[in-house]
Each structure stands twice: as C-alpha cells, then as structure tokens.
Symmetry: C2
Subunit: 467 residues, 2 copies
Amino acid sequence: MIEHGILDELRSIVGIGGVRTGEALSLIHPGSDERNLHAGVLVTPGTTEEVAAVLRLCNERGIAVVPHGGRTGLVGGGVSSSGQIVLSLGAMNRILSLSADGAIATVEGGVTLQSLQEAAARVNLSTGIDIASRGSASIAGMISTNAGGMEAFRYGVMRHRVLGLEVALPDGRIMSDMAQVTKSNEGYDLKQLFIGAEGTLGIVTRAVIRLAPADPFTATALVACPAATDAIALFRLLHGSLDLLRAEFMARNYFALASANLGPAALAAFTEAPCYLIVETGAADQRSARSALEDALARAIEQGLVVDAILAQSEKERSEIWNIREDSSIVDRVHPDGHWFDISVPLQALETWLAQFNEGIAAFGPDVRGFVFGHLGDGNLHVGVAGLKVNKDAAKAIVYANLRELGGSFSAEHGVGLDKRQELDAFADPVKLELMHSIKNLLDPNGIMNPGKLLGRKGATPIPGAH
Amino acid sequence: MIEHGILDELRSIVGIGGVRTGEALSLIHPGSDERNLHAGVLVTPGTTEEVAAVLRLCNERGIAVVPHGGRTGLVGGGVSSSGQIVLSLGAMNRILSLSADGAIATVEGGVTLQSLQEAAARVNLSTGIDIASRGSASIAGMISTNAGGMEAFRYGVMRHRVLGLEVALPDGRIMSDMAQVTKSNEGYDLKQLFIGAEGTLGIVTRAVIRLAPADPFTATALVACPAATDAIALFRLLHGSLDLLRAEFMARNYFALASANLGPAALAAFTEAPCYLIVETGAADQRSARSALEDALARAIEQGLVVDAILAQSEKERSEIWNIREDSSIVDRVHPDGHWFDISVPLQALETWLAQFNEGIAAFGPDVRGFVFGHLGDGNLHVGVAGLKVNKDAAKAIVYANLRELGGSFSAEHGVGLDKRQELDAFADPVKLELMHSIKNLLDPNGIMNPGKLLGRKGATPIPGAH
C-alpha cells in the first residue's frame, strides 16, 4: 500500500478530489478485469502537466504507475496491485478542437471513441475506426493498444489514425509532437514508439486524430461461401469494384451457434456452408447501394464464389444480420469454458490455417468445438476453443500451429498485456526483443511504467505451437 | 580515402564485383546530387547477411556508411565524402513473393517502385503509393524517407504501406520483423523507427508491402476554384460521394506559367482563378466515371465552389491536363534561380497560409514570383520562390512564417537529409530532439550510419520564421 505522505503529495498535484482510495474507490467499476483497481489508489490528473508531475514524483520514489483508459482491455494490461497507483485519464476527456475542413480532431487522451464519433458525425465525418467497446474505450487507451476493429482494411489501425501525439514520459518530461498533417517527416517518428506500447513507456495525454468521410448510404448482405478462398475472392471483387465498407467473416460453427441462438428463424435456416460473410457497401443513395450490391452478388454466384445470399431490405433486417456477428459473446454464454485467441492470418494462408484448425478440433472428438469469426480484410480472427477436455495449452497448440510460418500474428488487435507475454517471448524475433528491452531501459530506467505488462521475461520457456 | 586492406576485406564479403572504385565507379551515375558518390567506394552486397557483415566491419573500424537506394533524394541524404563508403542496395532487387489473395508483396530493398507497380498490376493490384521518380526510387529508399506522393490521402504514406521489415543494424545484428498482416501488436513496433530515419539507424534490407486495389476506370477534370476553401470543399464533396483517386492543387501563378509554356492552347486559355485542381475519380466503367464526375462538378458549380471545369474526353486530353501538373520542373527551366520548399499545411489553414504567402511575395515587388502546387488532400505544398532579389533566408521567412502555429510541417515528403537539419533543430520539440539523439546513440553508438544527415547539431542557430 502507498504511504500517506505520498498520497498527500499526489493530492497536492491533482487536488483532493483527484486521489481516490477506500470507499471512494469502491464506487468505481473495475472494468473488464476485476483486478484493475487492486492497487487501491486511483489518481485522475486534469492536465498534461499534472500527469507529468505525478510521473516525476513516482519516478523519484520508485512507485509503479498503471495507466487506465476506459478499462475495456482484454489481456490484463490494466491490472494493478498493492503498492502501485492507477493513473486514469478519465478527467481529461475534452475534444479540444475539431475541424471539418481539415478532417482532424485534437483531443485529450480520456475522450471516449463514441464522443469523438458523435462529434465527427455532426460535420459528416467519421473516426475511420470502430470497436465494440466504443462507449467506454478512450482514445489514449486505443492508441496505447493500437486498436483495430472492422474498418482497418480501409483506414488502417489506430496507428494510422494518429497524426500527432503528446506523451508524458516517466521522468516528467513532456514530448509534444502534435502534428496536424499526414505528411510530416521531421526526424525519427518517435510517437510510433508509444502507439501500441500499452502504457509501458509513458502516458499519452493528447492526440491529433485524422478523421474520415462519413459512411454513405449502405447495403448489407449475408453471404454463404463454399470456402475461405471464395470469401477472399468475393472480398477482392467487392473491394475493387464497389465502395466496400465492412467484410466480416464467420466460420460454419460460429454462424450455426449464433444464428440458432440469436435468431431470427430466417437467418437460423440460412443455407449451410463452410464460410459466411457479412458485407456492407456504400453508394450515393440507398437504392443504388442495394442494386449495385445485388448485381455484384449475382455475378459472384455465377462465378461460384457464393452459394446463397440475403440482402437486407430494411434497417431491421440489417440489424438482425449484424447482431449475429456483433453479439459474439453468445458463444461464451453457451460454452462458458472456452479459451479465446486473437490472431491474424495473411489472406493467402487463411484456407490452410482454417483446414488445419478444423482438423485439430476434430481430433479432440465431438465434445470439443472451435469457433472462428473476425475481420476478413485483415485476416484478423477471433478464435474460441470450447470443451471440457481442452486446457489452454492444448488449445494454443492448435491455434498457433504454423502460425509464424504462415506469416500470421499471435496478437492482432487486443495486445499482449499480462496474458500473452509468454507468446511474445516465444514468437518475437530475438533481436527485436533485445531492442525492446533496450528501449524500455532508455525511456523508463526505473521501470515504473506499467511493470510486468507486455515485455516478457528474457529466456522464458517456449510455448506450444511456437518455434 | 579508404585504405586498401579495408577494400580487400569488403571484397571478401561481397565479392570482387561488389566493390567499385576509380574507373569502375565513374561509370555509375551519381543521381540527383553530384556529391552522392564522392566517397569513391561503392559497395553492393547481394544478401542481407552481406549487408550485415559490411556494417559489422565498418562499425569495428569506425568507417562511415552512406546507404543508397535509387539516388533520387532531393535533400542531400545520399551525399558521401572521402573516407566513407557508399552501400547500395542495387544488387538486391528481387521481388521475393507477391500474393494476389493476400494483396502483399515481399521484396528486397533495392526493388524499384516501378518494378513492384508492374508486378502488382499483373494481378490487378497497385502499390497504393506513386511518386514521379518511380523508375529509379527503391522501396528501401522510399521506406527510409517515408515517401509520400499523390495517393497519400487515400492510402497513407510509405509508413502505412509497410507491414514487415528486415533491418541490418550498425553492429551487424539483423532485426527481422517480416509481418504479413495489418493487425499485429507484438510489442513496441520498432520497425517504425527505421521508417523515415534516412539510413541513420540501420539499413532496410527486405520489406513486406501491403498492396491496394488497382485503379478502376477513371474520369479526369481540370477545375478552377474561387478560393482554396472552395477547392477543399470540392475535395470533401468528391471524397465523400465518389471514389476520389487524386486531387492535385495548383495556385494561380503556377498554373499560368505551366499552361502557357506546356500548352495546349485550350488549357493556356482556361479561365483565370486563384486556385486550380486536377481531380480524378473512379467507377466500374468509363462512361459512368465521366457522367458521375460531370454531375458532381455541375452541383459544385451551382454551389459556387467551382467557376469552370474541363472534363477530359480522351486519354490524350487527360495526359495534357496531367502534364501541366507533373512537368513541374517547367518552373525551374523558366526561373532557374528559385528556392524550393516542401511543406504541409493542415487544410483548415490553407487559405490563411496562401494569403500570407501571396502578401509576402507581393512585398518583394514585381520581380519576385511565388509558385505553389502539390497534393491537396494532405495539404502538401511544393513551394518555389523565384527572383534575383530573394536569398534563401528571405524565402524561408515567408514560407515558414506561422507554419508551426498553423499546425504545418517544414518537411512533408522529401525528408531532412543535409538540407533541412537547421529547420529540424529550430522547429522540433526539444524533448523529441533529445530522444532522437538518445535513440541514435543507442542504435549507432559509433555514429557510422549516414553521419551528418537528418540529426541537426544541438543548439544550432534559429532560422527565419521558426520559433
């Protein structure tokens, strides 16, 4: 536990209301991991200078700092323990400026994605990135985890949305590189180090975000494909000839379970196939969006890429189709014992990986099920392995098998956090790992920033599937 | 000059043909800067391991290494001098793999952009990046300078096209992070350090490049706008409602000089206006591309965003329109005494910057002319100031005035090299500069990598216009 003298010093920096302990802290929801607030001290600075002053103090006293955004992380990156402090950006939640002409916004780190989406929508723009936890996820958290989502094949991941960044360093210095332009080559692009660093190198206090055009009128279809290669060919066809906005993938098992449990009957009774896609395309008006997608799907059926398709004829039908994909926690509700993974597979290897995964699952026998869904354009798959017979290591052995050789990644969009340090040590290039430790040591020599997260221990034991 | 013993050691690494000096070297064109080959020694390794071995040797002996790609750089980043060696990737020019399904290519660093463009086009893909020096510029050079070009508002700059990277470090280690996926969050994204580092931290030996869909059928128009804000509104309109592929900006002076000197008469006689755009949009067939652009421009004329437009009715007319923009060296041929700049201005500040620039030029009197053209979507302007009365510092004072306050950049897409070190020192955030020096010292403690480039001296004198 932090000593009282330190708490007083923290209060002198951020004000009395900016330091929560005990009962005041118990009112705060811990978020996606119940251990997030175990530190017992929550500090909420109101300005960049306060963040820097808190870090300077903690650096001098050797107190570990766990940065929190929206507490929606899925890999334990926000877990804290006694003796540490949690530093939340929750009080730094202002959109400082938003220019429709420039299509950029300058924000404090604690702004939620949804706030920024709503502000952008008012001037007919979008954030170009969308994730399910939009209501809580903060921009600084999304930067620190380099968030992905459904639009990455069009607009890139969070790294590609960041034009400028302000970061408080562990020693209390503030690096301000608040560029407002896409093209800026002014020496080493050091902001990139902090994007995806999961709070282990400094704290993102402000950012300039590049905005994208708002979605036009859309058409949405659920499509059944004979194989993953056909789904990919359909993706290329639509991406090359229409304004393809989203292309979400669902393998047979996932679609069967989700449609049977979520309904409606028309979707639950949809043609059986190895692969399904939800595709959404845009056009200048509703009617031409639907007719263009209908024409394209008719061609795809002729070419054998698609065996059946349902084109949403109303907003209600659109929502029903999307619900099958978005309410993916249905798998957890039906099979609460599942092990989950977040991987990327290059599209040219998707069929191979899926075949190998299905074989591996089948070898466990009928009590074990595999569920695969995700973002087709990026080859980003969320993979669940459920069944009492399977422990996490056995599941890893199937999911990670040949993943490196196929050009994939064990960590697509959720990050490393606490949960995947072993994978990082096993999969990462050894020279890259050495450099990572050197960079950490350079920027945070006292190791106060989110210790134990992301950076695995050197020489850890290898894990199944990794080479 | 390098001593003979070292040359023999270099030959033992790369073979006798891989080390050129004297007469053999004199046959090589120095490229865009006549000083590029002043080192007098050109080493062309054939493999990553040879690159690493050369660096290890030079690191041990304290010999500076100047990396060369296509020798098309514009800021002196490839300049070498006696006692140094030039390391060229010219012999590492193979496309190692290209997957149409995955829309990715794995290449050696010396591959030219044009080779990759041609290979991508054969499977109906494109590189998503295009620059005028495509025939010579190498992928490694484009990565090291984080090249930009005309498609950046759609597909980002070179940084956004790189999925994976292999780098030979100064001490001979090889960092191999050849990810083939967009979503890969496996710790600090260290490859970003080398992108845009201008060869001062290591040598890019191989890369995985993300490809984009090939352009569809296109329509092209030359458009005259009453003001920059109108040009931007037109850009937003087209980008939001059509598949906008290119939007190139030309201010009055540039268009007048280029059209008068390059012709044809129809373009030279085009409506006079403060701003011109060349816009190119795409659609599934030629006819609908032209009719959609025509409709959109008709609406823009009604709204007062456009005063006049010429829609190209043939490939010949399209070429004539593009020639006005692409043959920009016409300014140099007419006014050989010009000073040139490569800046970015956020779009919301473009009108302000242009007004201020035009005022500054006018204040010099009629003998001084300002020429502005560039890539509208990124606010990337190439700016020329010509006239015998103006020295470089006086030109800087006008071009850089308020640029930082407006959110712009002194270095958009050409890099810092030798020419803009003073600007970097003056404009960059001091903490960022400190960290840059720390990173340089960490990765290249002996300072052998492209010394004197990019990193300015600490505490250099301030320059006009900078704060």
